[in-house]
């Protein structure tokens, strides 16, 4: 589906000549295509660089900023121990998230990403930041679901947060399985607005479900 759309956009792009907007669609499609092959921090850094370049050209578009922040958040999750590095990357992600909140305040995915950023801050030092950032993450998720209760990424992050809390209190996470299954089953019924819009998360949902008996 995504591939077809990207191909279509690129086809359109090459036929319509290289107007700036089409170059944008092409560059986005091409860069999004590279997500699947990213394995290391360096890969995501390179991808983030691309999105940063695109964001620089297209000041009104929120998607390049979204993916830029997303790459840097993933990088911080991938770094095993260097807290200063993690925070520096999250600072970079936060700059984009702040811009996103200003230019696309109606997008549920923006706040879902903000929640992910807060979780990223939390894991740098759970003991000192747990209280503050779990609250902030919960707030951002609340805003995302307020905008669109069906957004699968917002639901996924909420589920991950809730399960994390349950685990912390030594409770059985089994009660979340039905919710996870429901989320996974209905994942594809949520249609992104375009092939460039966020569509990730199904794998993580599937992973939660596979952990259920």
């Amino acid at each position: 589906m995504k591939t077809t759309l990207i191909t279509l956009t690129m086809l359109l792009a090459s036929f319509a000549g290289m107007s700036q907007k089409n170059e944008y669609y092409q560059a986005m499609g091409e860069t999004l295509g590279q997500y699947a092959t990213c394995r290391t921090v360096e890969d995501f850094q390179a991808l983030g660089n691309r999105f940063s370049m695109i964001a620089g050209n297209e000041k009104d578009e929120w998607l390049p900023l979204y993916y830029h922040a997303h790459c840097y958040i993933i990088m911080s999750f991938m770094e095993p121990s260097d807290a200063a590095k993690k925070d520096a990357w999250l600072d970079e992600a936060e700059k984009s998230v702040n811009k996103l909140v200003a230019i696309a305040p109606g997008e549920a995915d923006v706040f879902a990403l903000q929640a992910m950023l807060c979780t990223g801050r939390l894991v740098v030092n759970p003991m000192e930041r747990g209280q503050q950032y779990s609250m902030l993450s919960g707030q951002a998720i609340g805003r995302a679901l307020g905008i669109d209760p069906s957004n699968p990424r917002a639901r996924l992050i909420k589920l991950q947060n809730d399960m994390g809390t349950a685990r912390f209190y030594g409770k059985d996470t089994g009660e979340y399985c039905s919710e996870a299954k429901e989320l996974l089953a209905g994942w594809d019924s949520f249609t992104p607005k375009s092939g460039l819009h966020p569509a990730w998360g199904k794998d993580q949902a599937a992973e939660i479900v596979s952990g259920c008996k």
Binding site: I6, M10, G33, E42, Q131
Partner: protein
């Protein structure tokens, strides 16, 4: 997928004139290659990232004049004009590190900063709260840091050979005239403020900025929390009494109201006490805190509190050889306001004001002593960032202090009053030569209308970063302070007291381990001396006192070596002598102990969701004066030991149980002896040992938080 892209790229390229290859390398000016740097043609979608060797190569179909942009986190972006005409372009690019104050060198000489913003902090805000033994007392927690001396019979801060009144406390920039609760002589006090109010703390044990005056030894700067994030209601049940707090938010603002009541009577009925309490300490405290954002950058904070406390203590009067009741009633009203706003990009204005009205009513043996203190402080500061590396700050201040003491015996009444106005102005410049070197130069001017004296105090600090993990700092300055109330009330012929500080500090932080060593020298002059005459005559007092303090402070913090564990060790060596008050000669003062050690350990048990704290403190023997002995301050107390433990258990997301014991092993604690005013028939001064109120202190508590979601808790309170 990739094949498609290449196919289309090929299609596109074949339709145009031809392509230019741009390649080269990106290096950091000082540290070699930069892998992962973003290299692209500005305004186009052509670009790439550098590989592990910092090399890059990409093709473009554009022709003509373009700009190559090179960006990398932590470095200044680089732009270079190129002409694209099909000829290969080779670039060798060097990037400069960006200048960011966050990771630039900071002045650490004499300063402990606690906030959650920076990773590199030696201590965090949470540490201020969760130190076992402090039991939620800011000053108690600070006494686990180097440079401090624990005086168990006082509870106040004694810093680097300075007396307790040489330290000042500021909240959001405004002076707190009465930071401690009123207590009976020789009983330990606590801070008036709940440590959970504060998000950041700076504890400076010397060499502080020109912004702070009227302190010879240290300043404690407390910054209150910003906006709360949600409506909530907190209920705290402690063995000494309950406290309720409610928070309500509105558009850009919030209010928190707190009401607490404490009474030690039930506790004292259960646990044997060394003191004979006729009426156990009882207090009622109410506080309200308001936050309002104004415009884009403005923030108004108002905090107001009212405390009402009382107790009656039976004390043995050595002169009359009988028990005498010592009763105290304290009423304290405090209001603190601050407003901070940014104008344009680089100008920050802050206004702070505080007002204190503190009344003590003391009665003993049919005599009454009333003390009424009114204090006011107003400060306006402006900070302007001229460039990223140069910041200028300046400000003006006005302090008033008005003290009225009434002493009533069955026969007579004596009233003493004094009012003092102090005007001050300061300016300072902070100059970064690079990320590795910073200096701060300031000067402070003060005028005091009561003494009719002025002072000019230069301050100089500098820090030099050796490498990514270690740095040197130094601080030098003159510090002035008015003589204490006890002298000013009888004399306006005195001068400022003065201390000159010399501090040299080295700090190394690697992998969540911090080691800090500091040496210092303090030169005291113009200390107030009480001569032979009657105490109420102004001629009795002069400024001929002097003294010195020198020492070594060590601090080691390690969050890494023990999983889920975290500890710090503070050691201070102090060598000090002074000639002040009624000392017949230069001598070691009674508050100073040569060696101080604190070991603080915290451990998180995730299986049982519990946070445990353990704290051991040692102070070597201090001196005290025995009037029966010819040698002044010739007697020594026993050494001081304490081992405190605390345990908090997260029962449910919104319910926490907490328990703590101070001096768990019941170490014998004594703080010297007190003596009768006059000798008995045999010519000897009678004496009694000074001991703490009880061998151990226990506290149990339960904290419950109610929110709409029901998951928040007060974990940050006692973790």
């Amino acid at each position: 997928m990739k094949q498609y892209i290449f196919f289309f790229l090929f299609l596109i390229s074949s339709s145009l004139l031809g392509q230019t290859v741009i390649s080269g390398s990106v290096k950091a000016r000082n540290d070699g290659t930069l892998p992962g740097a973003n290299v692209y043609l500005k305004g186009t979608y052509d670009g790439t990232s550098t590989d592990t060797e910092g090399r890059f190569s990409f093709k473009t179909l554009k022709t003509g004049q373009f700009t190559v942009s090179v960006e990398f986190l932590g470095y200044e972006s680089h732009s270079e004009q190129v002409t694209l005409n099909g000829k290969e372009i080779e670039l060798a690019i060097e990037l400069n590190e960006t200048f960011s104050k966050l990771d630039a060198v900071t002045i650490t000489a004499g300063t402990f900063e606690a906030s959650d913003k920076k990773q590199a902090n030696t201590i965090s805000s949470l540490d201020m709260i969760t130190t076992a033994g402090a039991a939620g007392d800011v000053f108690g927690a600070l006494q686990t840091l180097p440079g401090t001396t624990t005086n168990g019979e006082s509870g106040r801060l004694f810093v680097k050979g300075g007396d307790s009144d040489e330290s000042q406390t500021y909240i959001d920039g405004a002076l707190v005239h009465t930071p401690y609760n009123s207590t009976a002589p020789n009983t330990a006090t606590r801070g008036r403020f709940n440590p959970f109010m504060f998000k950041g703390t700076i504890f400076s044990t010397g060499g502080y900025s020109a912004e702070y005056g009227q302190a010879l030894s240290s300043v404690l700067l407390l910054n209150t929390n910003d906006m709360p994030v949600q409506d909530q209601f907190d209920l705290s049940l402690l063995t000494i009494g309950p406290e309720v707090a409610g928070t309500r938010l509105w558009e850009n603002g919030a209010v928190t109201a707190t009401l607490g009541y404490s009474n030690l009577q039930p506790y004292m009925n259960l646990v044997p006490q060394n003191f004979e309490w006729k009426k156990a300490p009882e207090s009622t405290a109410a506080a309200i805190s308001i936050r309002q954002k104004t415009g884009k950058t403005g923030m108004l904070k108002i905090y107001s509190s009212f405390d009402n406390g009382r107790f009656t203590l039976g004390q043995f009067d050595l002169d009359q050889d009988t028990m005498v009741d010592y009763g105290l009633r304290n009423r304290n009203f405090f209001v603190n306001t601050s407003f901070r706003t940014t104008i344009g990009e680089n100008l920050t204005l802050s206004t702070s004001a505080s007002f204190t009205n503190d009344r003590d009513k003391v009665s003993f043996d049919g005599n009454h002593f009333d003390k009424s203190l009114k204090g006011f402080h107003l400060k306006q500061t402006a900070a302007r960032e001229i460039t990223e590396k140069i910041t200028l700050r300046g400000g003006v201040e006005w302090f008033t202090r008005s003290l009225e003491q009434t002493y009533r015996t069955p026969a007579d009444t004596f009233v003493n009053i004094y009012d003092i106005n102090t005007m001050a102005a300061f300016t300072e410049a902070e100059l970064y030569a690079s990320k590795r070197f910073v200096t701060r130069i300031g000067v402070r001017l003060e005028h005091n209308d009561y003494l009719n004296r002025s002072s000019l105090a230069p301050r100089l600090t500098a820090a030099w970063k050796l490498d990514e993990t270690s740095q040197f700092s130094m601080a030098y300055g003159w510090f002035y302070q008015n003589p204490s109330d006890a002298y000013l009330i009888y004399s306006d012929k005195l001068n400022y007291e003065r201390a000159d500080h010399y501090t040299l500090s080295y700090q190394s932080t690697r992998n969540e381990r911090t080691l800090r060593t500091e040496i210092y020298y303090k030169d005291y002059r113009n200390l107030t001396k009480q001569g032979q005459g009657e105490f109420y005559l102004s001629e009795t007092y002069n400024n001929s006192g002097s003294g010195f303090a020198r020492g070594l402070d060590l601090f080691l913090r390690d969050k890494k070596s023990i999983r889920n564990g975290d500890y710090w060790i503070s050691y201070s060596y102090l060598d000090t002598k002074r000639n002040y008050k009624d000392y017949p000669k230069e001598a070691i003062p009674g508050f100073a102990s040569k060696h101080n050690l604190a070991v603080v350990y915290k451990h998180w048990f995730d299986k049982i969701r519990s946070y445990a704290g353990l704290n051991y403190k040692y102070s070597s023997p201090r001196v005290y004066n025995n009037p029966n002995s010819p040698e002044f301050n010739g007697e020594k107390t026993i050494a001081y030991h304490t081992l405190d433990v605390s345990w908090s258990f997260l029962y449910k997301p919104n319910i926490i149980f907490y328990g703590a014991v101070t001096n768990l092993p019941g170490f014998k604690q004594e703080f010297g002896r007190r003596y009768s005013e006059t000798p008995d028939e045999s010519g000897l001064y009678r004496s009694a040992t000074i001991v703490p109120g009880s061998g151990r202190f226990f506290i149990l508590a339960c904290f419950i938080t109610f929110t709409k979601k029901g998951t928040e808790n007060q974990l940050d309170k006692i973790q």
